[in-house]
């Protein structure tokens, strides 16, 4: 079986202007939604209390809300979580209430109403923790970006590192844009997924770049655009199949992993889809723009020795 039996190289580089324009528009949309709607930060970042409870029968949300309002939490958000038996209660962070005791108050109050209620999960996060998490998240993002640029610079050339990181940071912004547009909850695990995507989707660029470098050595007479077109076409089959396989795994998580893994898998899904596009159709045109040339690999003797690994 073979899906991609492509005889001639597809002239991707001549579409470069369109493909970069498309991603620029998507990018701008993402930025627009990030600015206007903003991210719906989860309790991990904003601070507050989330309580998940389980009832023996379908829960009456209106009654739960009334009971909570009576106990002194009129601003508690009450919603079903996964099934009608499970209820998620979110109480925003308040300065005057000792946050650590809040969960007990809520559970006690619900228990008065219905003794069958079972505490499934409590997450209380103080505001200072949330701030630290955001700081750490930003630091991690910076470190990953610098690390990747540094590594690609070492292995290839600065032009490669720069175009790969631009392409992939643009993926990150697009994932965030999706989360802003749909107002999905942005939690700590989503952040982890975003960072993992950053590391993972760079793979894509690396595979293409590897081919480009190889082609510079083997296709002595070809122009730069031809070399890049050939590299993309030759790796396309691998790209689709690899991402398809990863997506099967992620898809299983998306549908079977439960609520906790759902948005984690969602961020990965968006990341995987866009990384195919951007690392091929954004990173390579950028590479052209930065003026990659055969002279960048003028010392092939040394590089050749490196290639012959066991």
């Amino acid at each position: 079986m073979e899906f991609f039996r492509i005889k001639h190289d597809i002239p991707f580089m001549s579409y470069g202007r369109y493909t970069t324009a498309i991603s620029l528009v998507t990018f701008l949309f993402a930025v627009f939604f990030l600015v206007t709607k903003g991210l719906n930060f989860g309790v991990d970042f904003t601070g507050g209390t989330v309580i998940e409870v389980h009832y023996a029968q379908s829960a009456d949300l209106a009654k739960v809300r009334a009971q909570l309002a009576e106990t002194g939490f009129p601003d508690a958000q009450v919603q079903n979580f996964g099934s009608s038996y499970d209820v998620l209660i979110q109480v925003p962070f308040k300065q005057n209430i000792a946050g650590a005791k809040l969960s007990e108050q809520v559970i006690d109050s619900l228990r008065k109403q219905d003794a069958s209620v079972e505490k499934r999960r409590v997450e209380f996060v103080g505001s200072q923790v949330g701030k630290d998490l955001i700081d750490n998240g930003e630091l991690a993002l910076l470190l990953v970006s610098l690390g990747i640029v540094g590594y690609l610079w070492l292995r290839f050339e600065w032009k490669f590192g720069l175009s790969a990181i631009i392409a992939n940071l643009h993926d990150v912004v697009i994932i965030l844009g999706f989360f802003a547009f749909f107002q999905w909850e942005f939690s700590l695990s989503v952040l982890a997924a975003v960072l993992a995507v950053l590391g993972y989707s760079v793979n894509e660029s690396v595979v293409v770049f590897d081919r480009i470098r190889e082609n510079f050595r083997t296709m002595r007479k070809a122009g730069v655009a031809e070399i890049i077109d050939n590299a993309i076409t030759r790796t396309m089959s691998r790209t689709i199949i690899t991402h398809g396989c990863t997506q099967m795994m992620v898809g299983a998580m998306l549908f079977l992993g439960g609520e906790t893994l759902h948005y984690f898998a969602m961020a990965l899904t968006i990341g995987i889809l866009f990384s195919i596009y951007s690392s091929v159709l954004v990173a390579s045109p950028l590479l052209m723009m930065f003026g990659v040339s055969r002279e960048d690999f003028i010392k092939p003797e040394k590089a050749e020795a490196e290639e012959v690994l066991p």
Binding site: M1, E2, E52, H54, G99, A100, S103, E118, K119, R121, V122, F124, V125, G126, Q128, V129, L133, N136, L143, V144, Y151, R155, S189, L191, A192, L195, G199, Y200, V202, N203, V206, V207, D210, R234, R238, I241, T242, G244, C245, T246, Q247, M248, M249, V250, G251, A252, M253, F255, L256, G257, G258, T260, L261, F264, A265, L268, E307, V308, L309, P310
Partner: protein
Amino acid sequence: MNQYPLWKYLLILAALLAGLIYTLPNFFGESPAVQVSPLRASLKADAALLARVTTALKAASLNPEIVMLEGNSIKARFADTDSQLKAKDVLVTQLGEDYVVALNLLPRSPQWLTDLHALPMYLGLDLRGGVHFLLQVDMSAALNKAMEAATGDIRSALREQNIAYSGVSREGKVLLVKFRDAEARSKGEAEIKQRFPDYALKDRDEGGEYNLVVTLKPEAEHRIQDSAVQQNLVTLRNRVNELGVAEPVIQQQGADRVVVQLPGVQDTARAKDILGRTATLEVRMVDETHEASTASAPPFGTEMFKDRQGKMMLVKKQVILTGERINDAQPGFDNRSNEPAVHINLDGVGARQFKDATRENVGKRMAIILFEKGKGEIVTAPVIREEIGGGRVQITGQMDTVEAQDTALLLRAGALAAPMEIIEERTVGPSLGAENITRGFNSTKIGFIMVALFMMAYYLMFGTISMLALAANLLLLVALLSMMQATLTLPGMAGIALTLGMAIDANVLINERIREELRNGVSPQAAIHAGYDRAFGTILDSNVTTFIAGLALFMFGSGPIKGFAVVLCLGIATSMFSAVLISRAIVNLIYGRKARLTKVAIG
């Protein structure tokens, strides 16, 4: 050309065998157990205790599957939670207060596996259920306390040397010592410098006043903060011991935070009560020269506190002794009046301080003040009858036996060096934990099967080999996680699924390369060789970038995210090994020997 030397096969075989052994315990599951550990360092869990536990259980006609001595505790495993709970009750009443009896889970794996230190993966709180707390230590309170102590120290030093000064006042973290003339100041400065190397001194003249500004040196400040956290850790450990948790985790996180994890604990209210008791204890002298009244501010150098009856009392600000000097405290009875009492044992420094203070103040009253959440309450204010040496102190006051026990527990668990506040809590119920395991496991399984079917259909023989390599990858990853006893969390399980999905990349790269070489008319043997060789550089590059992301997540992530990062990084290592070495070994075994290979099944 496609042949491995024998040692390479043996290496792979050994790795797989080790992987199998260390993965095995995960299949046996865990059974409810009871764990008995001594509360005090003087007591040891030994064969005698083992015999006691065994007979106690036998007398209650409970049949544990196994009773064993491990480390400094006795563990008994049961078939079901019912007998586990019964056993706990039996042991609590039989063994008394000297031992902690906690509920636990023990692996059901056979003894020979346990002997090899092959243990099942360590499950995080989101998978096994339990409570996670993050506590913040209030550092400014610790520094304030240190400066308050400094005020007293400087006063007594100057008085001892007969250096005239007109006052010592504190403004936040700065002390101001006032002198009448420059000469006294320079003498005072020299004296303070010599006695207290921790203070930084600076002259300041203001309107004819000769002042000396005293601040803590940064390194001293650092040391105070560090020891405050360390002491709080010890205190928390003692308190958690009283709580009876099988495998608590109490760790410092960052400069001023402490993580407390209590697996299996569901009664969070009680846990918070015991942990959150921000009690610090101070012994000070009662000021008897002034009358306490709520109408006016307390006189200079004194503070007003309520006692247990709600009566106001004036107490000097200077601290004689703090809770950290207490070694042990036990409830008991006064042997004369038979009143409930608390017997306290002080450490060497504390004993000396206490002896000096009691000698100087015979006939006066001393107050023991318990600070909880910034508010002080006088526990008791006994009259000092005589000089108390040897560090043995008995407190009696208006308290009943329960109060005596409570006070003793607080004193014994040690006061905190600085108050702490819970700033994060994550509780997961056991049913959700079990559900999380099933969900994580199912999504990995379904994903794996889908990928396997696709790969076998698309690359035929080579797809099958890739899947064998991927299965080996899973085996090695689980074995590595079990071996390191790294904490497996739900994001960690997601990490396993994700690394498997990503590991496929290496095999796809190789298989695609082989196909391409074959298309270019290279002979099958040469194509296999070139495919593996050429793909290796790319595989390495792409894995390094993911590894960088994993490393950053590990450095900056907390809790479950760290679990994800660990799995990601380990998964990259095992997938490199399995995708390159193991799959190549299988290919070599199948095709390598055939001299005239005309066709390979790669689709």
